[in-house]
């Protein structure tokens, strides 16, 4: 009798032990996974919109996500990287200061066993889950098409197009220029030179624009690969008396482009969709964490917005490009 009792008691204990495990799992499952978004500089609207996209998706998928802005400082970026590794996040989404720095981040994350998704900029090498980028080439190509169509409409097919670019060392820079030039070639319109921006300041933009205008009497258009100092280009056109004679088209977008494009002040703009990129990055991470295969390379289209299609694309612009009307605030 006593033996039976002891047996029953032991059985109950064992049963309870095993019952406890699911409890632990449940307990674990009750804690959301943590993600970290390492970004080069949140002060730049592009990255800020991307952050809101990532945050929104993370929240939707039940992740905790924190943002670490390096403010374009390599050391800070490393410090944040070390920190998130120490915090043992479940995943890192990174928009590095540069592709070289990304290598170190990937290396450290790999050593810590933390998966990484890269959102824009890219990396020179290293292991990552997925790389989310804009299709800069195709986007620039479409942008070039918009410009060349407009120039043809204006019978400016003999005119030239000057380019004020982002550093061509960057992969996105090369891609944009290649796509754009393809469109020019197809239209038979010649380029008028390229100026690479270093400081991305207004003055720099103004000076480059003025140089190109003065150097090329047949200049009919300027393409600004970066968008935030578009005013410098416009001022240069105006100050050189070329207002109305030289078109301006940009890559990337500012909120005011929603007005400038319909007005024709800007021929068009190639708009990345940072918000969508953020969302896509988190989604890829989630899929990876859940064991789903993820595309190594995801290129999101760039919206080639012109006067003709801005209205049509407005909702998408507002959401994916500007991160507006998403219900997700800063």
């Amino acid at each position: 009798m006593q033996k039976i009792s002891r047996f029953l008691i032991g059985l109950i204990v064992v049963f309870a032990f095993f019952l406890g495990m699911p409890l632990e799992a449940d307990a674990d499952q009750a804690q959301p996974k943590k993600l970290a978004y390492l970004v080069s500089d949140l002060r730049i609207p592009f990255w800020e919109i991307m952050w809101r996209g990532a945050r929104g998706k993370a929240k939707e998928l039940g992740y905790d996500i924190a943002v670490y802005s390096a403010e374009n400082d390599a050391k800070t970026e490393m410090q944040f990287t070390a920190q998130v590794i120490r915090d043992k996040v479940d995943g890192i989404i990174v928009s590095p200061t540069n592709s070289s720095a990304c290598v170190t981040i990937l290396k450290l994350a790999k050593a810590a066993g933390i998966p990484v998704v890269i959102s824009d900029i890219g990396t020179d090498n290293g292991d990552y889950v997925s790389y989310i980028s804009s299709d800069n080439r195709h986007g620039a190509y479409q942008l070039g098409r918009i410009l060349t169509e407009r120039m043809l409409e204006l019978d400016w097919q003999d005119g030239r197009v000057g380019i004020i670019s982002i550093p061509q060392k960057r992969a996105n820079g090369k891609a944009r220029t290649a796509g754009f030039m393809q469109a020019l070639d197809e239209a038979g319109i010649k380029g008028a030179g390229l100026r690479q921006q270093m400081t991305f300041s207004y003055q720099e933009t103004y000076d480059f624009a003025k140089e190109l205008i003065e150097a090329n009497a047949d200049l009919r258009a300027l393409w600004l690969q970066g968008s935030d100092r578009y005013q410098g280009a416009l001022d240069a056109i105006a100050n050189t008396g070329k207002a109305g004679e030289i078109l301006l088209i940009t890559f990337d977008a500012e909120p005011e482009f929603l007005d400038l494009i319909p007005q024709g002040i800007l021929v068009g703009a190639g708009m990345q969709q940072p918000y969508l990129m953020g969302e896509t990055a988190v989604k890829a991470m989630d899929e990876h964490i859940n064991g789903t295969a993820v595309d190594k390379d995801m290129q999101l289209p760039i919206l080639a917005v012109s006067t003709k299609n801005i209205e049509l694309l407005m909702p998408v612009i507002k959401r994916n490009v500007l991160g507006l009307e998403t219900g997700i605030s800063n």
Binding site: A74, K75, A82, S100, A101, V103, T104, K107, D124
Partner: protein, 771 residues
């Protein structure tokens, strides 16, 4: 196999291969060692450069937290295969990461691939431990000067070894190729320059004839040394062929000689047997002697009765002959005598003695020691007996000859002595200017002189014949002028030809150059005999022609042709026999009949010939042939016959030693007629010596045949006395033989006058010594 390794080809090939391979191996090893050292130094230098470069480049990246940038830089330097790992310790990033130093870098794995360095990788740590060269430096900020990290470079010798292995492989391949080329080149060179000529020579030398003599030697080609060898071989083969030929000839000769020797041996044996001589063969060292059977039988013994000991012979030698015989043997063996020949007596078995002619010949070794002596015994007993008989006969002949000579000498002397008086007084009568002769007296004196001369000629001829027959004629060969002798003979012949009106003609064949190598006196005698016969046996009013002709054999033929009655064939056969005169019964021509006999014998003694041709009723030609001399004749001393010569008017004294009263009287008359010197006479030699000692004459005329002491003995005495030895002594004697004259002159006579004297000659001789 052994033959293979003895082949020159194999040896040369092996040597070339071994040498070349050894040289290349040493070269490769040396190059390997040198290259390794060089590579190590190069790696060291590269590491130094890399470290220095990275040291300057990485710090800024560290400061800007661009780990990937310095990683790329480091990765780029890893391209230098000499560097095995570069590890950077980033203290800045390490500080950020809270790990002290962030180590990153690259390392080469075992396969040489570059991979990222992991500090916790044990293999990576092992690699670092095996570093050949581990260099590290601090990374210092240029701005702050603070250390921001460090860099470590590891260089292993893997690259060096890999490179060396490659190099070794390449070197081995190159060395093998070069070796192959060298071996090929050397072998080809050696083949064509040395081996091929030697092979050709070797093949050629194997082509031999039945005697193994090479038949063909290739032409000399190739290097000088091989060419010289080939030329030497050619000469050698030629010499061998020649020697072989000579050997063959020599073999044939030897065979022939052997056959000849066998024949000689057989002949010798037969000869020995036939000669009945005994052979002996003595070994001086063992003293054993081989005696032939004949040797033994010669002494009456059977072959087995005599052994081989030396005393079988020496013990039988006659005691009287023993010492001399042994002396002869010793003398020959010692070299004192050139030959061994001895005659001695040997005891025969029957007790008799045989005379043996013992002759032998010895063989000597290099030290001069006799090792063998072989000889013959010849029985000369009969020869000895004959010899003794001959000796007796010879002695008898000598005695007879001596008696004959003495008779002749005595006869000559006995005849000459009275003839001296006859002719001497006749000459005095003829030459006495104080008492000139009337014609009838003169005629009578002439007859006396002619008769006396004739008698003297007969005496001389008889003596000449005797001398010739006894072989005592001595000829004195000189170069004689033919013309001079002819002139003398003409002078002597004219007086007998003129009264009968016989003309003597001398032909043109005579020349002054004709000189004969002959005895002048006997040549003159011979020619005079022919010429006088040609006159004597001529007809009145006839002629005599004398001519000379050179004939073959370097002879001069002098012919004397007369116009006499000629000589019949039958008489010609006896012409030259003594005492045979032609038609002696029907002629009144005087003669002894021995003139031609003497002439023939004299001419033949003078190496000449004599002959006659005759035709009855026409005449005869007598000729003699004598050898012509190539030299000129000796000058003839003019004896001078001044009949009116007188003794000088000096106070000289002449001593005449003469035992014959007539001769003494004659000389007194001569001195009385001639006048001048004073004549003292002595009848004996002893008296003459006394007078000579007392009177000290200026000249002594000495007869030789004197009673008791002879003139020769007196001469010796006079020459030995101090008071007389300076006095010249002249012989005046009837001993007129040639040897008498020679002996006299040798004895010391200053001159030799023979009887019968010629007054003129005597006076001239006296004048010569007294003046």
């Amino acid at each position: 196999m052994e033959r293979v390794f003895k082949s020159l080809y194999t040896i040369v090939s092996l040597v070339i291969v071994i040498v070349v391979m050894s040289v290349m191996a040493m070269h490769t090893a040396q190059m390997y060692a040198t290259t390794k050292t060089s590579l190590q130094k190069e790696a060291q230098a590269h590491a130094d450069v890399t470290l220095s470069t990275l040291q300057q480049s990485i710090a800024p990246f560290i400061e800007s937290y661009a780990a990937n940038e310095y990683a790329k830089l480091v990765r780029s330097h890893m391209a230098l295969n000499a560097i095995d790992s570069i590890v950077v310790r980033d203290e800045a990033l390490g500080a950020v990461l809270g790990i002290g130093g962030y180590e990153s870098g690259f390392i080469r794995d075992a396969s040489g691939s570059v991979q990222e360095f992991a500090h916790d990788n044990s293999l990576h740590q092992e690699t670092l431990k095996r570093c050949f060269l581990l260099m590290s430096e601090n990374l210092v900020s240029r701005q702050t000067g603070q250390k921001v990290g460090s860099i470590q470079i590891c260089t292993s010798d893997r690259f060096i070894n890999a490179k060396l292995n490659n190099l070794l492989f390449d070197s081995i391949i190159s060395a093998l190729l070069v070796s192959a080329l060298l071996i090929f080149a050397l072998f080809l060179t050696f083949f064509f320059i040395v081996l091929l000529p030697i092979r050709r020579l070797s093949v050629a030398l194997q082509i031999t004839d039945q005697y193994g003599i090479p038949q063909f030697i290739p032409s000399a080609s190739g290097p000088v040394e091989i060419s010289n060898v080939i030329k030497t071989l050619q000469n050698m083969v030629a010499t061998i062929h020649q020697s072989h030929e000579q050997l063959s000839q020599a073999h044939k000769q030897l065979k022939h000689e052997h056959q000849r020797l066998e024949d000689e041996q057989a002949r010798f044996n037969l000869a020995v047997q036939g000669s009945r001589d005994g052979l002996w063969d003595w070994n001086p060292q063992t003293n054993k002697v081989y005696f032939s059977d004949q040797w033994k039988r010669m002494l009456g013994y059977e072959p087995d009765e005599i052994g081989d000991a030396l005393d079988e012979w020496s013990g039988r030698v006659h005691p009287d002959d023993f010492e001399r015989t042994m002396g002869s043997v010793k003398a020959y063996l010692s070299g004192a005598a050139d030959i061994y020949e001895d005659r001695h007596r040997i005891l025969c078995k029957d007790g008799s003695w045989k005379w043996i002619l013992d002759r032998g010949h010895a063989l000597f070794d290099s030290d001069g020691t006799p090792v063998r002596m072989v000889g013959f015994h010849t029985d000369i007993t009969e020869d000895i007996l004959h010899q003794e008989e001959l000796e007796i006969a010879r002695n008898q002949a000598q005695h007879a000859n001596q008696a004959k000579s003495e008779f002749l000498s005595s006869m000559s002397h006995e005849l000459r002595t009275p003839l001296n008086a006859i002719l001497g007084f006749a000459q005095l009568l003829e030459y006495d200017p104080k008492n000139p002769l009337v014609p009838t007296q003169r005629n009578a004196v002439d007859q006396i002189l002619q008769g006396g001369d004739h008698m003297l000629q007969v005496i001389n001829q008889v003596l000449d014949l005797a001398k010739i027959e006894s072989g005592k004629v001595e000829l004195e060969f000189t170069n004689v002028s033919v013309v001079d002798v002819l002139q003398d003979c003409l002078t002597l012949t004219q007086p007998i030809a003129h009264p009968r009106n016989i003309r003597i003609h001398v032909g043109t064949g005579f020349a002054a150059k004709h000189v004969l190598h002959t005895d002048k006196t006997r040549f003159k005698q011979s020619l005079l005999n022919l010429m006088s016969n040609a006159v004597k046996y001529n007809r009145d009013g006839g002629s005599v022609e004398i001519d000379a002709t050179e004939v073959s054999g370097n002879l001069l033929r002098i012919s004397v042709k007369d116009t006499g009655k000629g000589i019949s064939e039958g008489h010609r056969q006896n012409l030259f026999k003594p005492f045979h005169r032609l038609d002696v019964e029907n002629t009144d021509i005087e003669g002894t009949g021995i003139g031609l006999t003497i002439t023939k014998q004299l001419v033949e003694r003078m190496d000449g010939r004599i002959g006659v041709e005759s035709e009855e009723g026409v005449g005869s030609i007598f000729w003699i042939e004598l050898p012509i001399s190539e030299f000129a004749p000796l000058p003839i001393e003019d004896a001078g016959h001044d009949i009116s010569a007188k003794l000088p008017h000096a106070s000289g004294i002449v001593l005449y030693v003469e035992d014959n009263p007539a001769n003494k009287m004659l000389m007194e008359q001569v001195f009385a007629t001639a006048g001048g010197a004073r004549l003292i006479t002595a009848s004996t030699a002893e008296k003459g010596i006394e007078i000579a000692k007392e009177k000290r004459p200026d000249l002594i005329l000495m007869d030789i045949n004197l009673p008791r002491m002879s003139g020769r003995e007196a001469l010796d005495v006079l020459q030995s006395l101090p008071e007389t030895k300076h006095i010249p002594v002249v012989a005046l004697t009837a001993n007129a033989m040639r040897h008498d004259v020679d002996d006299g002159l040798k004895a010391g006579f200053k001159h030799y006058l023979t009887k019968p004297i010629d007054l003129v000659e005597v006076i001239n001789v006296i004048n010569k010594f007294v003046s």
